[in-house]
């Protein structure tokens, strides 16, 4: 089947309580970001399994973005630390498969970060376009 767009496909993991409202607000305010961005909500970014990230790459996603709560996480003060660990672990798995570790990124997105989310998506799209160019 023909691809709809050449724009890199990004999977975003977003937290239900804090990042989701920020991403929803980007839509509400009609702020543009790439239509190749797909969002899965989870309770806490530290609960994302590297297995899911690897599954996304296996299914043809060009990049994975983790919209985390950072210091605002209401579950654990170690949220950023644990999320970093799972990203590092995923990057090792990615390297073993020849996937550039730059294809995964994390940033804190809070409930009012609509513009920040859109600009992260624009930047990440640019990075992925470059990486895709190199890969070809």
């Amino acid at each position: 089947m023909q691809k709809l767009t050449s724009s890199p496909k990004i999977l975003v993991f977003s937290t239900e309580k804090i990042s989701d409202p920020g991403i929803d607000q980007a839509g509400l305010r009609k702020i543009h970001y790439s239509p190749s961005v797909y969002v899965i909500s989870v309770p806490c970014s530290a609960g994302i399994k590297p297995k899911w990230i690897m599954h996304a790459f296996a299914q043809g996603f060009d990049g994975v973005f983790i919209a985390a709560d950072g210091h605002e996480c209401s579950y654990t003060p170690k949220c950023s630390e644990l999320t970093n660990e799972l990203i590092e672990h995923s990057q090792k798995l990615m390297q073993a498969k020849g996937i550039d570790p730059k294809r995964i990124r994390m940033a804190a997105i809070c409930s009012v970060c609509a513009e920040q989310f859109a600009s992260h998506m624009a930047n990440f799209t640019r990075i992925l376009v470059e990486l895709n160019g190199k890969a070809e």
Partner: protein
């Protein structure tokens, strides 16, 4: 958990009255969903949330024997519970329902490209279908709730909440560490606004607390033990005495209302410790204790210098936040001083004045009373020299191009803010309530769920959560009371079943899950000579942090299983064949034509802003003076009526530009 694979799924795509269908070819999305082997009902509907559609959905579920439903409409934040209830009414398990967000996360942000938006919507719906295929049925966990509440702290927040909760039939155990109730407001006189003294508020509340039979007040008491969970917390209260006695209570919910501590200046900070340098708390007591001549340590005070932001707003220090209430507190203390001791001159050394709301009136009043204001920066704070015979405050005044000014004063008052109450760490540990980077207790969400904590059944009231004035403290205490009563009022509580579970056959007990769990929910078990982890269900908060660290992938979080998440990814990954022809798009968005004369006044204003070429909505708002959200609505309608049209993105690639339709 083995679950029969679903074979009869109903999919509903919402137009949202044009909010979705103006930008997404809803009929095509419905058609693509309908091709799925297991989708037996696929409909597109004008408003999925409308009563009539909800009734149709119930009928479809019953008549067609649907075993799962997907609604593609707005954000789950809005209608997740609406459609879960539809499922329940039709006799379907509510967790066999998945909501797909095609409005906030597709039609709205991608409204410039119908083809790509339609393709994405199709992918989102496919992901929803695959998620629901992997979804398991769950029952909400029903626990009985004791209609009683433990309130920690009998300041104004704790007492007000106690009275409110008791008046609607709850038992209240009110525990205060100090010998008397009242907290920081006890003994205080002047409050703003109004002419009611702090003292009288405290006396009134305390009298009402003591006169209410279903409030048990324990002063000089502390919480010495907590176990259990929402609905049934077992708490021990140490009520003092010789030997110390512990009383036990079962409560349905807990309200933490432990307040704050005033920041204590370090010795030497602005010459703290030298004679004639005192913190604001001490100054207020001094002012409120007399009248006539203001005296401090036997010396007459004719001038006072207030230094603001002491210990607060430290860019490099620990207390990065602003306490908000101290600016107006200092201004009020100064006015209070003028009333009681006419003729004393006040000088204020501030970084920024935060006299929000009605407090601005006091600020004006203070300026009119002849108070002099000097502004300083964090980098160049005032320098205080005090030797017992008076003090000199030297400052580079930002208001006069940093001219150095030396002000001799009789008394230096350090305006300190609020810091977390000294016991907060211990209280956080007993109730397992998270503490924020600022050291105050953390709510779930500052705007959406401001008085709840992630620990079910534990709530926050007043300034234990962050700096608040009396009005805000009482508002939050009453909000928490209402929330608590909503939770325990029915005597039973239904809990969301999103908790972790361990596949004991895969678990090799390495202890990693227990090490990352903040709530002690992962417990080691031994059976048949094997050690493995089990989940203590009431303690699990459903964060899922334990799952990624498991080396054998033995842990899954309900509603976020591998089957569900990986199913969604598979759905997104499908590139659907979307056919949007120009004519089809044009027909879809065909709208009656309007003439210039019929334009609303705002359209003329917006067209005026567009006369120099493409312009973004925020810029139109600026140029026209109209509200940005109003401009958005008008521009969307103008687009529909072919009066204006999109003109690509601006340089930052964040805003769409619009222009007059040629």
């Amino acid at each position: 958990m083995e679950e029969k694979k679903k074979k009869r799924i109903g999919v509903y795509i919402c137009h949202c009255g044009g909010n979705i269908s103006d930008y997404v070819d809803v009929a095509q999305v419905r058609e693509l969903a309908g091709k799925d082997d297991f989708v037996v009902v696929a409909k597109d509907v004008m408003f999925a949330c409308a009563d009539s559609n909800q009734k149709d959905m119930v009928a479809d579920i019953k008549e067609q024997g649907l075993d799962a439903i997907v609604v593609a409409s707005c954000s789950p934040k809005l209608h997740l519970h609406t459609f879960r209830n539809v499922a329940l009414r039709a006799g379907l398990n509510q967790y066999q329902y998945v909501q797909v967000n095609v409005r906030e996360q597709c039609s709205w942000p991608h409204h410039d490209d119908r083809k790509l938006a339609t393709g994405k919507a199709a992918g989102l719906v496919e992901a929803g279908i695959r998620r629901v295929m992997g979804a398991e049925s769950h029952e909400t966990i029903r626990v009985s709730a004791a209609r009683s509440v433990l309130i920690v702290g009998a300041g104004v927040a704790g007492m007000r909440a106690a009275i409110s909760l008791a008046s609607i039939g709850n038992e209240v155990v009110l525990v205060e560490k100090a010998a008397e109730p009242g907290g920081k407001l006890a003994g205080r006189k002047d409050l703003f606004p109004g002419d009611v003294s702090g003292e009288s508020i405290v006396q009134d509340l305390a009298a009402r607390v003591r006169a209410t039979p279903n409030i048990k007040l324990f002063c000089g008491a502390t919480v010495s033990g907590v176990c259990g969970s929402m609905g049934q917390f077992q708490v021990k209260v140490n009520v003092g005495g010789q030997p110390a006695e512990d009383l036990e209570f079962t409560v349905g919910a807990v309200l933490i209302a432990t307040g704050f501590d005033p920041y204590k200046p370090e010795p030497g900070e602005y010459s703290m410790g030298s004679p004639g340098v005192i913190p604001i708390g001490e100054f207020v007591k001094l002012v409120e204790s007399g009248s006539g001549e203001l005296m401090h340590q036997g010396r007459r005070v004719r001038s006072v210098g207030f230094i603001y932001c002491v210990g607060m707003r430290q860019t490099k220090g620990k207390n990065k936040y602003c306490s908000r209430v101290c600016c107006s507190g200092a201004i009020q203390a100064s006015l209070s001083m003028h009333r009681r001791y006419p003729g004393v001159q006040a000088y204020h050394f501030y970084r920024d004045i935060r006299a929000y709301g009605k407090q601005e009136v006091m600020y004006t009043e203070s300026s009119k009373a002849g108070d002099v204001y000097f502004m300083f920066t964090e980098k160049e704070p005032p320098v205080v020299t005090a030797d017992g015979s008076g003090a000199v405050i030297k400052v580079k005044d930002s208001l006069t191009k940093k001219q150095e000014v030396e002000v001799p004063v009789d008394l230096v008052v350090l305006v300190t803010g609020m810091v977390p109450q000294a016991d907060s760490g211990a209280i956080a540990a007993s109730f397992k309530v998270p503490i924020g980077a600022d050291g105050f207790f953390n709510e779930i969400h500052p705007k959406l769920r401001p008085v709840e904590t992630v620990i079910n059944g534990v709530f926050l009231g007043g300034s234990c959560q962050g700096p608040k004035n009396v009005t805000e403290t009482l508002s939050s205490a009453l909000a928490a009371s209402a929330k608590i009563n909503a939770v325990i009022g029915k005597g039973v509580i239904d809990l969301d079943p999103v908790i972790a579970r361990v596949d004991s056959s895969k678990c090799v007990w390495c202890g990693k899950c227990a090490a990352v769990c903040e709530y002690g929910a992962l417990v080691e078990m031994e059976r048949d000579g094997r050690n493995f982890a089990i989940v203590d269900e009431p303690s699990c908060v459903g964060c899922g942090v334990c799952a990624p660290v498991c080396p054998t992938n033995a842990i899954e979080l309900a509603c976020f299983t591998d089957a569900e998440i990986e199913g969604m990814i598979d759905g997104f990954a499908l590139d659907q064949n979307i056919n949007i022809t120009e004519t089809a798009a044009a027909e879809e968005s065909a709208a009656p034509s309007v003439t210039m004369k019929e334009y609303p006044a705002q359209w003329h204003m917006i067209l005026e802003a567009m006369k120099d070429g493409p312009i973004s909505i925020p810029d139109i708002a600026k140029a026209s003076g109209l509200d940005a959200s109003l401009v958005t609505r008008h521009v969307m309608t103008m687009n529909r009526y072919r009066v204006a049209e999109p003109a690509g993105l601006d340089d930052s690639e964040q805003y769409y530009l619009y222009q007059q339709k040629s």
